[in-house]
């Protein structure tokens, strides 16, 4: 079926893509705290790390739920194929998110068992981040689908390639976490964050580089997209590298906020590169956006509400960040 380019499906693809990258960046720096947790200089630093995200983590995680619900609403084929395909992986991710989420509450209240919640927080974050990276990897690999139903096995999602993308995600979130810390902390902890950031960046670049080189061989479609002639698509990795350089130089100049925003840029352009590689396939190799879309009236019904509500969501979310602006101190708990 031929569709005009600016139909609802297209708008919805944009919205879902926006929701996913919002999730990745917002929860990314929260999960990043958990990933860096075991390496933090001391217990007081861990208090600061946790306090720096405690007021906002719930809202950040909500983008994930929007991603899930939004997929069900706008692209049900994606929701109902990818979730069964990743059944075990999704469970691991959820279990990770559960432990990391309750650790926020329990660690504050724990005395002798605090080290257990340190482990829950960091173990949960690492497992969740890895599982999310594996999701990206299996998306690149594609899914075994017949007649709109997933027919593959329980562990198709776990291959050397997806293990690598999982590790890439862990490193990437670690980078978001460390640059967030540069923004929100002071003194010794900030100095530590400055120190680890270049190493994390290096790891990310190496892993992303290998993934980038490997991907065209995992998937012929991607190969053709990139190598069947020079196109604008090559701008994306170039911009990504420019952001990497931005991170490095701003860390060197001991800039407070630039490293974090440059890392966001790095993520956005890597993500755009991924989208550009696969477009318009959403359940590779079988379904495009339009095959996977829900009924027109459902997309419209939700879109109307969304366009009305999302500006409010963005405004009051921004407002909470404004309320909690500035450097974080260790002793701030409930009041």
């Amino acid at each position: 079926m031929i569709e005009p380019v600016f139909d609802l499906t297209f708008i919805w693809a944009f919205i879902i893509a926006f929701g996913i990258i919002m999730y990745v960046m917002m929860d990314g720096f929260v999960l990043g705290q958990g990933i860096l947790f075991p390496f933090a200089p001391n217990e007081e630093s861990r208090d600061v790390m946790m306090n720096s995200v405690a007021p906002v983590w719930d809202g950040n995680g909500t983008w994930l739920i929007l991603g899930g619900a939004g997929l069900l609403a706008a692209f049900p084929r994606v929701y109902t194929i990818i979730l069964p395909a990743l059944y075990i992986g999704v469970f691991l991710m959820l279990a990770g998110l559960i432990f990391r989420g309750v650790a926020f509450e329990f660690r504050f209240k724990a005395k002798t068992s605090r080290y257990l919640w340190n482990w829950a927080f960091s173990g949960g974050s690492i497992v969740a981040a890895f599982a999310q990276g594996a999701v990206v990897g299996s998306y690149i690999q594609g899914f075994n689908v017949v007649d709109g139903v997933y027919v593959g096995g329980a562990f198709d999602w776990l291959t050397p390639f997806t293990v690598l993308t999982g590790l890439g995600m862990v490193a990437g979130y670690g980078l978001l976490g460390s640059t967030w810390l540069i923004l929100k902390s002071k003194d010794a902890l900030q100095a530590w964050a400055y120190k680890v950031t270049p190493w994390l960046l290096l790891t990310v670049l190496v892993v992303f580089g290998i993934i980038g080189l490997w991907t065209p061989y995992v998937d012929n479609y991607v190969y053709l997209r990139w190598f069947s002639g020079i196109s604008f698509i090559w701008l994306l990795p170039v911009i990504t590298l420019a952001f990497a350089w931005g991170i490095l130089s701003s860390v060197k100049n001991r800039h407070d906020s630039k490293p974090f925003f440059a890392t966001m840029g790095l993520f956005i352009f890597t993500y755009l590169g991924l989208i550009a590689s696969k477009f318009p396939y959403v359940v590779p190799p079988s379904y495009t956006l339009w095959d996977a879309a829900s009924a027109h009236e459902s997309q419209l019904f939700l879109l109307l509400g969304l366009l009305f509500v999302i500006p409010f969501v963005l405004v009051y979310t921004a407002w909470t960040y404004w309320v909690f602006r500035g450097k974080v101190k260790a002793g701030e708990g409930y009041s």
Partner: protein, 468 residues
């Protein structure tokens, strides 16, 4: 034995949703209570309200956290275990769940941060507004999810084309026949939960003679609340039952344990339903009462389970007994509310030890009633997933194997047991420590105003520790 992915998925779904549900019913009620306390504190300036509010916010934070993490699981259950059902109903359920996220979850999450951590970063009025926003978010959330659930009970406004539901009328689908009753019943259940927990905890403090002035205030408030809400719940429950009689007669037959359609049906107080032989054993009942309650006529006709073939009957015993547990607890709540009124007139509601002891135990009752109520609703609907249109067996994920389902079922049980035990432990600690004292509050305010340098942080961490 062959592992059945369908059965395991049903057990898993029942487990994770029951687990999730006990937290929201509490937080919906408690959020409103905190908003009221914050409002009173703002209006009167009496520090007692702020102390109560601070105390209950600590409880709220733990419970809300558990509600959120178990809720995230729910958002993916439909896709992982019920993908055929999700696909078929996506045109309706997708927008419902998405509206819940954008209108409720973001609202709750954003203002929760300010409610928990922002007391001295925003003016008191804004802090109060945050409490109101969180409470509002919980109502909105309940509305959407109950609409989705009610639509599965009493589907409307849709037509099936090529195996997929297509929405013809959004208003008919959203405001389907059972939504109003279910929403009212659930809201009252939430207020009862909040009310009875506050009662139980206040009673516990009074019994231990801690902070009696503050907790007596809370006790008195909540007794007035349940005096109105508990009888109202019985009334709304009755209407809910009448609505079910109209739309899902087989479920009502299971609730009543009634096999043969007939007139002048007795209300069974006790029976052991025997699905195999399609009859009851050891029946004890009050003649004609079921007919009277359900049709408001002693000779009214009540549907029977045998109206439908055996394989379309729900598991009767669970439905029958869950219903009795819920109604029994509901009546007990009314009794306690009235006892509170009587004791108030005698001036003894805050001192009568048997009454306070009883209230302590009653704080568990709403949770049991809520889960029992949902068992009636959901198990009474089986074998239908969408009533009379789609069965559980048609909705389950085709690629799911028994081993996969068993793995995650055990996984969820293990994970939830750990966090539930820990949550309970920390809650008990919060409850045991009690409300922060007025002097701590004043001291903290001055300390914060002094804008401590980071070096003071260690000391202040110790204060935090001692307090929690």
């Amino acid at each position: 034995m062959e592992l059945d992915p369908l059965l395991l998925s049903r057990i898993q779904f029942a487990f994770v949703v029951s687990f999730h549900a006990i937290f929201p019913v509490f937080t919906i009620g408690l959020a409103s209570y905190i908003a009221v306390l914050e409002g009173l504190s703002l209006k009167t300036g009496n520090p007692a309200w702020e102390r109560l509010s601070r105390f209950w916010i600590q409880v709220f934070a733990v419970v809300f956290g558990m509600g959120v993490v178990s809720g995230i699981v729910m958002a993916f259950q439909f896709g992982t275990n019920w993908s055929n059902f999700s696909m078929a109903s996506s045109n309706f359920l997708g927008p419902m769940l998405s509206y819940e996220v954008i209108t409720a979850f973001f609202l709750e999450a954003a203002f929760l941060g300010v409610l928990l951590f922002g007391r001295d970063r925003v003016p008191p009025g804004v802090h109060f507004m945050s409490a109101v926003m969180v409470a509002t978010g919980t109502f909105i959330s309940a509305f959407w999810i109950l609409s989705a659930n009610s639509w599965m009970q009493t589907p409307a406004g849709v037509e099936i084309r090529d195996g997929l539901y297509h929405v013809l009328s959004w208003s008919e689908a959203i405001f389907n026949a059972s939504l109003l009753y279910r929403f009212m019943h659930m809201l009252l259940a939430s207020f009862l939960t909040g009310g009875f927990v506050v009662l139980g905890v206040s009673a516990w403090f009074l019994l231990r003679n801690i902070d009696t002035d503050v907790h007596k205030k809370a006790l008195s408030m909540s007794l007035w609340l349940v005096l109105i809400i508990a009888p109202a719940q019985v009334l709304v429950g009755d209407f809910h039952g009448l609505n079910t009689l109209e739309h899902q007669p087989t479920k009502v037959a299971a609730m009543e344990g009634n096999w043969e359609r007939g007139t002048g049906v007795p209300l069974l107080l006790f029976a052991i339903p025997d699905q195999e032989n399609q009859t009851n054993h050891f029946e004890i009942g009050i003649p004609k009462l079921a007919s009277l309650i359900l049709t408001h006529d002693m000779e009214g006709e009540i549907p029977g389970l045998k109206d439908v073939p055996k394989h379309e009957q729900p598991p009767v015993a669970i439905v029958f007994w869950s219903f009795r547990i819920m109604v029994g607890l509901g009546l007990l709540m009314v009794l306690f509310a009235i006892a509170g009124l009587v004791l108030r007139y005698k001036g003894r509601y805050a001192t009568s030890r048997p009454f306070l002891q009883g209230l302590r135990f009653m704080s568990l009752s709403p949770f049991i009633a809520v889960v029992a109520g949902w068992f009636v609703t959901e198990i009474g609907r089986s074998p239908w997933l969408v009533y009379e249109q789609m069965t559980h067996a048609q909705g389950v994920t085709p690629s799911l194997t028994g081993a996969m389902a068993l793995f995650t079922l055990i996984g969820y049980i293990v994970v939830y047991s750990i966090i539930f035990a820990a949550g309970l432990y920390y809650l008990m600690r919060v409850l045991y420590t009690g409300a922060p004292s007025t002097s701590t509050i004043v001291g903290e305010r001055q300390e914060r105003r002094a804008k401590r340098p980071l070096s003071a942080a260690e000391a202040s961490w110790e204060i935090e520790e001692g307090k929690s």
